[in-house]
Structures are given as C-alpha cells and as structure tokens.
C-alpha cells in the first residue's frame, strides 16, 4: 500500500466531509446569508457604476433577497454558536438580542420600502443603494467583530 497518496486521499475525504457536515451549522448558514446580501448589493452597485446595463428586475430581485434574508437572519444565532467556524459575530448579539433584531428589521424595512417604488432607470439607483446600504454599518458597528 502506498502510504503518502493514501493518507492524502484520506485527509481530503475528511476535509470534504467536514465541509459538507459544517454546511448546516448556524455560523456557516448566517455567513452565507450575509454573502448573499453582499451579492445582491453588488448587483445593484455594478449597474450604478455603469458596469452592467440597468435592469429593474435585477433591482427587484436584489431587494427581495435582502428583505427575505433580513427576516430570518437573527434566527441563526442560537446559544452555543458564539464562537467557532470563523464567526465574526460579536458577543453583544447574545447580550442584546432585541436590539440586534431591531437592526435586522431596519435592513428589511429599508429594502421593502425601496421595493415599493423601484426606479425606472439607473439615475434613481443611487438613493436606493444609499437607503439600504446605510443600515449595514448601523448593525456592523456594534454586532460584528473583525477577526
């Protein structure tokens, strides 16, 4: 039996299985949610910067994604997930659950409000991004801890 390649294969399998198993962990789920929010903002940002042609449907999809995620995001911080799996969640989340939820609600409310009147062209996109994006820092200022 060749030892090195066998060991290498074994390690890779374990890593792969580990990645699959970790996929449900709240830390990973909520990180993926935030990445989706970033992607949604990015899709709007690319149009605002003129890198992509304006498409109101993309704006609607982005705002809907953000509003949907904002609703469920606070549910993924159960006790016991304060650390581990590279989480950047601040312990303050568990100390101030009500305020943390209020910040998530603010993001959702901003996105929903903008959905009510999606701009017809790129000129109206700036204020949309500002209104929604402004809530990001409000939460991150207190509840995110840079690793």
């Amino acid at each position: 039996m060749k030892l090195k390649p066998t060991l290498a294969a074994l390690m890779l399998t374990c890593l792969g299985v580990g990645a699959v198993v970790a996929a449900d962990e709240p830390q990973v789920v909520r990180q993926e949610m935030m990445k989706k929010v970033g992607g949604a903002m990015g899709a709007m940002g690319a149009m605002a910067k003129g890198e992509k042609p304006y498409d109101a449907e993309v704006v609607k999809a982005s705002l809907t994604t953000i509003a949907d995620i904002a609703k469920v995001f606070p549910d993924h911080f159960p006790d016991g997930t304060e650390t581990g799996l590279d989480t950047e969640a601040s312990p303050k989340i568990w100390e101030n659950r009500a305020d943390f939820k209020a910040k998530a609600d603010a993001l959702g409310a901003a996105a929903t409000a903008q959905l009510a009147s999606v701009p017809v062209d790129v000129a109206g996109l700036g204020p949309v991004i500002k209104a929604v994006g402004g809530t990001c820092g409000d939460c991150h200022e207190t509840y995110r801890l840079k690793k």
Binding site: M34, G38, G39, M41, G42, G45, S90, P91, G133, C136, G137, D138, H140, E141, R144, L145, K146, K147
Partner: protein, 305 residues
C-alpha cells in the same frame, strides 16, 4: 554603625531626589514658542471643517452614539477603553467655561501638537497629539476657528479611570521622551503631490496609525510595523493591516480604497463595521481628492506581513 546606615540611606534619598528632579526637568511639558501661533491668517472655516472630519474629533468628543448633526455637539464623556484603563474625552465645545471657548489659539495648538494642556500639564496620548503633531499651524488655526462655531455644551465629562501608576500625569513626560516624534512615519521617495497630501492626512490629522499600528507594552507604536494592524487596543477583535501586504485590502486598487472610504462598501460589497464605521462617515465628508490621496499613500507605504 548606625550612622553608616543613616549615611547610606541619606545618600540614597539624595540620589532619588536628584533622579526625580532630572526626570521632571528633562521631560517637562514643552509647549511650542508663541511665534508659531502668531501671524497666521484668519481661520478658513471650510478648511477648518475639512480638518474636523479628517481629524475625527467627533468620534471621541461627541457623546457616544451621536449621529448626523449631533456629532457637532462636542460635549465629551464618551469612554475610550484601553489596556491602561478607561479614558473619557473632555468637553471641547465652544462653551467658555466647560469647553474650549475661552482658550487661546496657542493653548489649543500646544494641546493638539505637543500634548500640553492649557495649564501647562501633560495630556494623555489617548488624545492622539502624537499624530496631530504633524499638522501645519494654519490647519490647526482653521480647525480652532471651526470648532468655535460649533454649539456650546455645559457638560463636564467624568475624569479618566486609570489605576496607579497610570494616573500620575508626570510620568507622561517619560512616555513622550520615549515615543513622541513629529518626523515622517515612513520615507516616501517621491515628489508626487497626491502622495505627499496622503501622507500628511494619514500620519497627521487622520491619525490612522493610532488604531492601525500595533503597540508595545507601554502603548507606544511599534514603528517598524507601521499600519500593520493588530489586536484592537479597545478590547475585542482585530484591527486590520492596511498596508499593501494586508490580507484584507492588499489586493485593492486605489479606487477601491477611495470608494470604501466614501461609501463603506468593500469591492465585494461587504460593509464597514466596528469603530471604523464612525471613521468612514467622517471620511465621507472630505473632498474626493483627500480620499484619493489617502488611498495613494496606503498603496505606497511599505508592505507589512
């Protein structure tokens, strides 16, 4: 035999007194000569406002959690935790009694650029005069003029909460002796005006190094790790490396950096967080050219791992 002991003790006391006296003399507060602050042009309030946001005065001197116009009420009191205890920034509103409304330009300038208080006392370097020391006297004068237009507050901030021996102001003379410098933090071999402006903004009023440069056990900069980041001096988390060697921003372009300072968004639309949120909101108030200059400087400083 007893007299020999007494003589030795007496000798030691005299030596100690001489030592303390020398220390006090060598490290005495050194305000700048009055000539530095006289003969300057009348305050340019637009530039004063620019210095206010570059200097981030409101981040410490406005009440904690202030937003929008509330940031202009510099009533003091916000706590600044540190390994040496908790500092409370004083009231620097235009109030003539509780604030700095009654100060002269020389008093303000000596506080800003030499860490010397209005009564000639040493100031704690939690007030980043170690960075502000690089500010041009005219910029300091413009800032002073702008501050005097801001609203007055009668608030008296709580005193610093510092355990012994950090509560002994006299010892700050020693700290300054070891660490105070107004020389450039890094040598930039270029005459490019944008780079020079960026160096001035970052090393001077921007005081970015105060958070982004790691410190040694006495709280002085590790100067060969300029802007390399490290553990958050306020307690939890990490302050990022912002040199070209940074894992987080090393690959960013100058335009990425300038956009982040203006909007708070990274190139992949992650958002600014922690103490940087207040800083970014101040950076957003600067002219675009200043953010471009800061970005250019950050791409030009030596890369730190």
């Amino acid at each position: 035999m007893a007299s020999k002991l007494l003589k030795t003790l007496g000798g030691l006391v005299v030596l100690a007194a001489l030592g303390l006296g020398t220390f006090a003399f060598v490290t005495a507060p050194q305000p700048r000569p009055d000539a530095v602050w006289s003969g300057l042009a009348a305050a340019d309030l637009t530039n004063g406002r620019r210095m206010f946001f570059a200097g981030g005065c409101d981040s410490c001197h406005a009440a904690a959690g202030s937003e929008g116009d509330a940031r202009l009420l510099l009533s003091g009191g916000a706590p600044l935790p540190s390994p040496f205890g908790t500092f409370h920034a004083p009231n620097i509103s235009s109030d003539p009694t509780a604030g700095i409304g009654g100060w002269t330009l020389a008093q303000f300038g000596n506080a800003m650029t030499r860490g010397v208080g209005p009564n000639g006392e040493h100031l704690y370097p939690s007030f980043p005069y170690g960075s502000y020391a690089r500010m041009k006297p005219q910029d300091v004068a413009d800032l002073f003029g702008f501050l005097k237009t801001l609203p007055a507050s009668a608030n008296v901030a709580p005193p610093h909460e510092l355990p012994f021996p950090f509560n002994i102001r006299l010892l700050l003379g020693g700290w300054k002796f070891l660490y105070f410098s107004d020389a450039p933090r890094v040598e930039i071999a270029s005459t490019d005006e944008t780079l020079r402006q960026g160096q001035y903004l970052v090393e001077g009023p921007g005081h970015c190094g105060e958070c982004h440069t790691p410190r040694d056990i006495f709280g002085g900069f590790k100067t060969d790790a300029w802007l390399a980041g490290g553990p958050n001096p306020e307690g939890r988390g990490t302050i990022p490396n912002i040199t070209p060697g940074s894992k987080s921003i090393g690959a960013w372009s100058t335009s990425d950096i300038a956009t982040y300072l203006e909007t708070g968004f990274t190139p992949d639309y992650d958002s600014v967080g922690g103490s940087m949120v207040a800083v970014q909101k101040n950076m957003a108030e600067l002219p675009a050219g200043d953010r471009d200059a800061i970005a250019a400087y950050l791409k030009a400083v030596p890369a730190q791992p």
